[in-house]
Subunit: 147 residues, 2 copies
Amino acid sequence: MASAQLTMEAQSEIFLVIKALSDSWNSHDMAAYAAQFTEDANFVNVMGMHWKGRAQIEAAHVQVHRTIFRNSKLKTLDCSLRPLAPGVVLAHVRWEMTGHESPPGVRFSEVRHGVIIGVFVEQDGRWLITAFQNTDIVPMPLPEIKS
Amino acid sequence: MASAQLTMEAQSEIFLVIKALSDSWNSHDMAAYAAQFTEDANFVNVMGMHWKGRAQIEAAHVQVHRTIFRNSKLKTLDCSLRPLAPGVVLAHVRWEMTGHESPPGVRFSEVRHGVIIGVFVEQDGRWLITAFQNTDIVPMPLPEIKS
């Protein structure tokens, strides 16, 4: 594996992609959301659904933004980046969501927190997400206090 | 990003790492399990817990293999690989688990299915996992049948 560096420029462009994800989510513009992914991107959502390619990612998101996510607001809490190779950067993004509904058979928390792994690649001078997986952070019950 | 190829040799070595994950899981040998990860690997489990580095990954797994996973059996169902850059390969692994118990406050299905994203890198001639995130596939309720 070649040595990898993360330039200030790459870092700033990747942060803009992450900002574009939440901005487009909050304006329910799923074409803009999907435009942050490569043509051949893999996307695994919190329910383990696996979408393959930008077109599937967009279509799936259009559907949920007509229903359970139509009033949802997404906020990025923090983000860490780690370069893996020239042109490949690993990101972990923690997020918070409010205003959503729950899908059938599942009950989301009123305020959801989660963590995304995103693999970014540089294509034609642009940084795009080529792999994405999202997981809800499950609130653990408090330990029983013994008096 | 440099062009990336997946040689037969790399593919076969990565498949052996994935096999070593389930073999070590089933023999509850968490040192062997953790040895499949790079020193600086990131691991996000199905509950959104984020472990950083091989030592944390091993310690967390030792704990759950003394408790909820002590009788669990893990099976790899299928695996797809996509090269991202020289020395970097993206993997998606679907798995099935039986014989587990559930953590406090959570109820796992009796037979669990899930999907892992794994990012493999080549280090000193060995393929290791440097990022891993795991998600349970949530069984969707069947649509209501109208007669």
